[in-house]
Symmetry: C2
Subunit: 236 residues, 2 copies
DNA sequence: CCATGTGAATACTTTCACAGCC
DNA sequence: GGCTGTGAAAGTATTCACATGG
């Protein structure tokens, strides 16, 4: 989750050193811009965009300032232009081929998720170890055996993989992915996977999110209901 | 994601004011402790536990210090005792009934996900609007119509809900959930939902995680491969 | 001696408030 | 006049390093 950056601001001309917290929000801004564009809006203020994205305007402007000065003082931002700049910064000018390992319920859900294609992400291959699943078609893609991994990664020039296996298999799959040449992994398995330097891992754990909510619920119940409020998700 | 805390340390006896970042890691420690217990380990050092959880020992000790002093100097932590203390802090001494709204691919995957039951979370009901889905059984639970929501929430005393609908429906569903009395929402729909004060929303966006990885991949490709390394997920 | 628990130092993030430009 | 872009201030989080107690 936290990546070291050897160069926050190195010598030379304006080395890009965008804070992690900002990078994590850029896709949200992108989505918000698309929403605005769909509404026929082609110029927006930081307030409008911030409200569509669920953040506050100062944070939005600070975030955008790391990319450059793409707004116009006294006016706002050109929706289409800003959308392009953020997409470029995120590397969405190219399409990223992704392989999903593990075609159970979650893997199937991911492979048919339609939010990927419009965001520069293409599910290029599905892989599993279960003989019952190999050869079956899911979302138009034939499930391949794990042993084909290296071949698949080479063929599609895949850098990013998704682990959607049970916890027990996660580390072995991660090792296989790294060996095959993958350098970024999104791990849905409820296990910590260890990878060599230079490989990024992000983790999404569905039950953890619910446990965090349960914690806050418990506190609401314990204290009076008046002692807690949300800052997030409240549009001014 | 960020919750206001009116009392970081109020008067009286040790008011609990655990930082958000720490709360987000407690479920990870819980999982790590379970792993250790399964290996027959019943006392562990902060190093052992930290390595199993994928964090560094200092952070772990600091996090645990917010809960109290549950370790023994010179020795370490009793696995079972610490596990209980964290579970209690997270509110897992009781079971939380949860309703999932939207029984598409993702909703189905969630309702059959077996990582919930052992963590104090019980899927009590499934709800959808599509007539084709209502009445069908998924993971042993019959899908109910959205109009039954209030009845269901009352019956099971539900505080926590999951939105797994398309983006367009998310806000309406959130409104219905709040009206029915739900006070915590986990939102998987790729949309920002607005809720009144006192209601917590957490958001998981599958495509955003991949976009963040793509950003880092792009940077690896652009710069020399030597200029980036990961701090996370590397066990010493 | 050992490993925890914790103040103090550092690093990062958010927010404020206003200078700068349209 | 209005809104962006940004230094500076405030607020959080992480890490260090050592006093503390078994």
């Amino acid at each position: 989750m936290t990546l070291l950056r050897s160069d926050r601001l190195t010598a030379g001309a304006a080395e890009r050193g965008i804070p992690d917290a900002t990078v994590a929000r850029l896709p949200i801004y992108l989505r918000a811009l698309t929403t605005l564009a769909d509404q026929g809006i082609d110029v927006c203020s930081s307030h409008q965009l911030a409200s569509a994205a669920g953040v506050n305007p100062a944070k939005l402007r600070k975030d955008l300032s790391y990319l450059g000065s793409y707004g116009t003082r006294g006016v706002g931002y050109d929706v289409e232009y800003l959308r392009y700049q953020i997409a470029r910064e995120l590397g969405q000018t190219q399409d990223w081929d992704v392989v999903i390992v593990g075609v159970g319920h979650l893997g199937s859900a991911l492979s048919t998720y339609d939010g990927f294609s419009t965001r520069g992400i293409r599910i290029a291959a599905l892989v599993d170890t279960a003989p019952a699943r190999i050869g079956k078609k899911v979302g138009g893609i034939t499930v391949a055996p794990l042993t084909d991994l290296t071949k698949i990664v080479r063929k599609h020039d895949i850098a990013i993989a998704v682990i959607a296996t049970p916890a027990e298999a996660a580390q072995d799959v991660a090792d296989a992915l790294v060996a095959a040449g993958v350098t970024s992994i999104l791990n849905f398995a409820p296990a910590i996977v260890t990878v060599p330097e230079g490989v990024d891992v992000r983790k999404v754990d569905l039950s953890i999110e619910l446990q965090i909510l349960a914690y806050h619920e418990q506190r609401k119940a314990a204290n009076g209901p008046e002692s807690i409020g949300t800052a997030d998700e409240v549009t001014a």
